[in-house]
């Protein structure tokens, strides 16, 4: 019965694809955090009436972020191909998908970090300034811990966005569940493959959201 319903499914392929999706997610999330967190902090600090107010730097960064965010991800995938080859040697598979994923998600994450930092009460920054803290100390010891719930929520949203971006990278042969869905589910009309991949993605997103919410809750002290 089950075998009839899922006649076209090669479970080994599904397993590989799931692992590929997970490694794309893990790899791109890691680089997105490493690049996006400092960018978000810089956006915040150089912003209007902030610690290192620099209108020129802020406007430049902000413009760059907006440009990258306004490019539809499918287009970004294609534009990025030459750069991706330059960095990883291939534009295919997991390695080929990670650079466009990082470039697509970093500006998004940086904006979320900026917003989370702005949520921190200005009075707290003033109090730490009054204690004679350096900007570095204020960021590391006060701002980031205070904004931790917001940043964790931002990571959750970014991770979920990356899941859907990673699926989209199937268009350029990025591998993973999205690739499977496009090649088998869409191009070969194998609806059962489509259903299974979508259900797996759904489960993945559910898990990410649940873990993220738990972490946010754990770090909230309000």
């Amino acid at each position: 019965m089950i075998n009839e319903l899922f006649a076209n499914i090669d479970w080994a392929d599904i397993g590989t694809a799931t692992l590929d999706t997970l490694s794309m997610l893990g790899g791109s999330l890691l680089f997105t955090l490493v690049l996006g967190l400092p960018l978000g902090i810089l956006l915040f600090l150089t912003g209007k009436r902030q610690l290192l107010e620099q209108p020129l730097v802020y406007n430049l960064l902000s413009f760059l972020v907006n440009v990258l965010r306004s490019v539809p991800f499918v287009i970004l995938l294609i534009i990025m191909i030459p750069f991706t080859v330059l960095i990883t040697g291939t534009s295919l598979g997991v390695a080929g998908a990670i650079p466009p994923l990082v470039v697509g998600a970093t500006p998004f994450f940086a904006r979320l970090v900026e917003t989370a930092l702005r949520e921190v009460d200005r009075g707290i920054i003033e109090a730490t300034q009054a204690m004679g803290a350096t900007t570095g100390q204020i960021v590391m010891k006060a701002l980031l811990p205070e904004a931790m719930p917001g940043i964790l929520a931002a990571i959750t949203v970014t991770a979920i966005t990356l899941v859907s971006y990673a699926a989209m990278s199937g268009v350029i042969g990025g591998g993973g569940l999205g690739d499977l869905a496009i090649r088998f589910g869409y191009q070969r009309f194998q609806t059962d493959v489509m259903v299974v991949t979508v259900v797996l993605l759904l489960i993945l997103v559910q898990i990410l959201q649940m873990v993220g919410d738990k972490l946010v809750q754990h770090f909230s002290r309000r």
């Binding site: 009460d121 009075g123 707290i124 003033e126 109090a127 730490t128 300034q129 009054a130 204690m131 004679g132 803290a133 350096t134 100390q137 010891k141 006060a142 811990p145 205070e146 931790m148 770090f219 002290r221 309000r222």
Partner: protein, 335 residues
């Protein structure tokens, strides 16, 4: 200890200069509790932030122990700020850190020996009476407890100066009283200079030695609290004093119109408050008096009183002379 010289501050809003403070001159002595009172928007919170340079002045100097704060390098300013504590209306505690971690924060900022931090934190917790709350988060504390954490945090690096920015304005009257009591204690115990801003005359009267009244970016009246409180000169000061005393000047004038005789206001300060000069002299000079208004209270530790009397009798002038001789101040409100 603190000298503000010709200090001014203007904000640029849409290309226009809006003056917030105009040529402030002020000297605050070491060990003093100095109050600055004003309505919101008068410039008092700008003034207190100029002292530790959270706001940069447009002109003038800020001298603390002869060091000009306006000329310090950013590094020098940070070092100087570590020796100036500050507490805030909304406490501004780190929500993500426990009480003990909040108090340890300025010590870490100042680069204290890690091993010396915990004992110092315990000392400060004991000083403000929060020892059993060390591991709680600020959101689990009441307003008064939060301000005590703020005070402990401000004192962590043994400052010589404490700035209080509306420190009791978000607290209920009872909690305000206990926080003021704590400030008074640390002022005496640690020989700490305290500068506070407030819009409550009650705060000034309870703990301040001297007061400056600020209005429209200028100091309109300044002096020992007892003088400013008992003989307010400037209209703004009178409003603050009368508000806190529930005195209505218009009603008072109406009342005076109904009574015959000479109307005077007597002001007692110190021991004279408790002595029976008035009744004994009234008997001696055969003067009749009726009390139109009066208040007896304490300004910091000094008892004082003020009575408005209507006096009748042939020897009123002599009696008043004698009262003045006993050290009671006399103002003639109506001949």
């Amino acid at each position: 200890m603190i000298v503000l010289e010709n200090l001014s501050k203007a904000y640029r809003v849409n290309g226009r200069e809006i003056p917030a403070l105009k040529r402030i001159d002020l000297t605050i002595a070491a060990g003093e509790i100095f109050g600055i009172i004003g309505h919101s928007g008068a410039g008092k919170s700008t003034l207190i932030r100029l002292i530790n340079q959270l706001e940069r002045p447009s002109g003038g100097r800020v001298l603390i122990d002869e060091v000009d704060m306006t000329e310090l390098s950013s590094d020098g300013l940070r070092k100087a700020r570590q020796k100036i504590g500050m507490i805030f209306q909304h406490f501004n505690l780190l929500m993500s850190k426990t009480v003990a971690q909040n108090i340890a924060f300025p010590l870490e900022v100042a680069g204290a020996e890690p091993a010396s931090i915990a004992p110092r934190v315990n000392e400060l917790l004991a000083l403000v009476g929060l020892t059993e709350h060390a591991n709680k988060y600020p959101s689990q504390l009441s307003g008064g407890q939060k301000q005590r954490v703020g005070i402990a945090r401000a004192l962590a690096n043994n400052p010589k100066l404490l700035l209080c920015d509306e420190a009791t304005s978000a607290l209920d009257p009872q909690t305000t009283a206990s926080v003021l009591q704590l400030l008074l204690e640390i002022n005496q115990k640690l020989q700490l200079t305290i500068v506070l801003i407030t819009h409550e005359m009650n705060v000034i009267r309870t703990i301040c030695d001297r007061v400056a009244v600020i209005d429209g970016g200028e100091i309109v009246e300044m002096g020992p609290v007892s003088r400013v409180f008992l003989h307010p000169q400037h209209p703004t000061t009178r409003r603050f004093v009368y508000e806190s005393e529930h005195i209505d000047e218009n009603h008072e004038a109406d009342d005076f119109a109904h009574v015959p005789g000479k109307i005077v206001r007597l002001t007692y300060l110190g021991e004279a408050t408790y002595q029976s000069h008035l009744s004994s002299l009234a008997r001696e000079y055969e003067v009749d008096f009726s009390i139109l208004a009066g208040r007896i209270e304490r300004i910091k530790h000094t008892p004082c009183g003020q009575l408005t009397l209507a006096l009748q009798g042939p020897k009123v002038a002599l009696m008043l002379q004698q009262l003045a001789h006993e050290g009671i101040e006399i103002e003639e409100l109506r001949a």
